[in-house]
């Protein structure tokens, strides 16, 4: 458990707050992507492409593609933004800005830096998802989108948990990729397969092997769980599976991140 205690220590919060201060200072530019990225995607795919799809059926329910897409986008946002921030953002701070080295000469230790980065990536991704939720609400107010809106605030803690798990995976690649030029490899080899086998943007084909494999994909359970809740108002086992798998990922990856980063930064085993 000693690898997890630092998550609750003030040094990890100090690292998290350092990142928050930098981003809050640039709030006007930081808010642009979370507003306009989903807006464009919702208009292009949800409204634009959705009009071309007639008789879209999910789990026996006939619904607009926009209604199918919206919960998937929430899940995908928690996944991708956390992973991206923990991979690129942390790598830049570690390798180019040397801000990790500066922190590590104070009372902050490596385990705090790892937890601070993971918590920050998760918080940032959750904030991004909250802004997306607000954009979705605008679509709801204008009559384009019909969801079980009362459940939207309830899923925020789950989004944070999942984002924390994905940021732990991102930090794993931060620890192992040799240079920033190799960053595309985890995207092609890990992220895209996870993303496209997760029912975020389209229902998975009814292939037996795929059905078995996606049972281990927390993003699939998250998007399906959110969809059942926000579209049909039903709590399903998918949400529990998503939470359980994410806790497992956190327990597996955070100690691994700490060990690999210790080796990378200090040259120690």
């Amino acid at each position: 458990m000693k690898r997890f205690i630092p998550a609750f220590q003030w040094q990890s919060r100090a690292v998290l707050m350092r990142h928050l201060r930098v981003h809050v200072r640039n709030w006007h530019t930081m808010l642009v992507p979370p507003i306009f990225e989903p807006l464009i995607l919702l208009l292009a795919f949800g409204v634009g492409l959705g009009r071309q799809i007639e008789g879209f059926v999910w789990q026996g329910l006939e619904l607009d593609y926009l209604r199918y897409l919206a919960p998937g986008m929430l899940a995908y946002t928690a996944f991708m933004i956390a992973f991206f921030q923990a991979l690129f953002g942390a790598f830049v701070r570690m390798h180019f800005q040397k801000s990790w080295e500066g922190q590590l000469t104070t009372m902050v230790r490596l385990e705090h830096v790892v937890w601070g980065e993971a918590l920050w990536a998760a918080a940032y991704a959750t904030g991004y998802a909250v802004v997306l939720g607000l954009v979705l609400s605008v679509f709801g107010l204008t009559g384009y989108l019909d969801l079980q809106w009362q459940w939207l605030p309830v899923v925020v803690p789950l989004l944070f948990l999942c984002a924390l798990a994905f940021s732990a995976v991102g930090l794993f690649f931060t620890a192992v990729v040799p240079t920033i030029d190799h960053m595309s490899l985890p995207f092609f080899l890990v992220i895209m397969p996870i993303a496209f086998s997760s029912s975020t943007y389209f229902p998975l084909p009814d292939v037996v092997v795929l059905r078995e494999v996606v049972l281990l994909n927390p993003l699939h359970h998250l998007s399906e769980g959110l969809r059942w809740l926000l579209v049909a108002g039903e709590w399903t086992w998918h949400l529990l599976a998503a939470a359980g798998l994410c806790v497992l990922v956190i327990f597996l990856f955070v100690p691994l991140d700490q060990r690999l980063l210790r080796k990378r930064i200090f040259g120690e085993q």
Partner: protein, 325 residues
């Protein structure tokens, strides 16, 4: 030569030793392997309040690794470090609260201004530094950073970047400060400014440990030198003592253009063997001698033209390099 603590004393007992200033850094038996190599091999360091300890040695001697162990960046494979009586492994928070670090590379936070860097560094310490805002204002004045307070550190000159790095290292009023090559790459004026800052830290009662490649800097700033070679302490003490131990009392410079220089070198090898190792510097040979050896040499080569001067720390480096070869 400064007193070296005995092996049997505990760090706390050493710190409390009556009649002397507090021992604020006490490292014993440090061993560190990196990349399969034993880069630190049983090094011990002490530094007292108001004292500057200079760590010298050629590249690869283990200076930076030793320093990094002492400020808790690296974990020693063997040995222990106590900062102001707090064991760095057993009580890392208390120990780290008492130390400040200026790394070799600039590691300030480029996302913040100069002043914000000091504020942010203060946030990495608990208990929080008392009257941090006033402390930062005072540091801006003391380190000549006032007019750059709202600038990005990236826009500062090399000298001012170093000032910021040292100001960051002391923002929380530590007891021991570690400066890893604080003046490397600076022009002479900026170096003198950093020297003055280091002296002011000493006057404030901090224990200062610094590594440097500049011999004049080491001699001028340090109360005591510790010379490292191949991960071990090769010599320690005042600058002149260290030079006497490692180099000798005199250095004779033989010019290669002199016809009898080759003969003189052969004579030295025949008469002193491994006891005297001449170093070639460009077209000259620098030969360290003690008084007896020098008088024998003078008697043997009365008609040879050569120079005799006291040894410098440059000779120390040459001597260490020759030993390594």
């Amino acid at each position: 030569m400064s007193p070296i603590p005995t092996e049997t004393e505990t760090p706390v007992a050493r710190q409390a030793r009556p009649g002397g200033r507090d021992v604020l850094l006490d490292a014993t038996g440090l061993v560190k392997h990196l990349g399969g190599k034993r880069v630190v091999d049983g090094i011990g360091l002490t530094c007292r309040s108001g004292e500057v300890l200079g760590l010298l040695g050629p590249n690869g001697a283990g200076k930076t690794t030793t320093l990094r162990i002492c400020y808790g960046y690296l974990r020693p494979d063997e040995g222990s470090v106590a900062i102001a009586g707090h064991d760095l492994q057993g009580d890392p928070d208390s120990a780290r609260r008492c130390l400040g670090v200026c790394t070799q590379d600039d590691t300030f936070d480029a996302d913040f201004t100069v002043k914000q860097n000091l504020v942010q560094t203060g946030r990495y310490y608990r208990p929080r530094p008392e009257r941090l805002a006033q402390r930062i204002e005072a540091l801006l004045d003391q380190f000549g950073l006032r007019e750059y307070a709202d600038s990005s550190p990236e826009t500062l000159s090399g000298g001012y970047k170093r000032r910021l790095m040292i100001a960051r290292a002391v923002v929380h009023e530590p007891k021991a400060v570690f400066l890893d090559e604080p003046t490397t790459g600076l022009d002479p004026q900026a170096r003198v400014a950093v020297w003055e800052l280091v002296s002011s830290l000493r006057e404030q009662g901090m224990a200062v440990v610094l590594t440097t490649h500049y011999m004049d800097e080491a001699a001028r700033l340090s109360d005591r030198l510790q010379v490292l070679q191949n991960g071990k302490v090769r010599a320690q003490g005042k600058a002149d003592q260290v030079l006497g131990d490692v180099v000798g009392e005199h250095v004779v410079i033989l010019h290669a253009t002199e016809p009898k220089t080759a003969e003189a070198l052969a004579w030295i090898e025949t008469n002193f063997g491994e006891g005297v190792r001449p170093s070639q510097v460009l077209s000259d040979w620098h030969v360290p001698f003690d008084a007896q050896q020098l008088s024998a040499f003078v008697a043997a080569f009365a008609d040879l033209r050569y120079e005799v001067r006291p040894p410098t720390l440059d000779d120390l480096f040459l001597a260490l390099s020759e030993e390594r070869v």
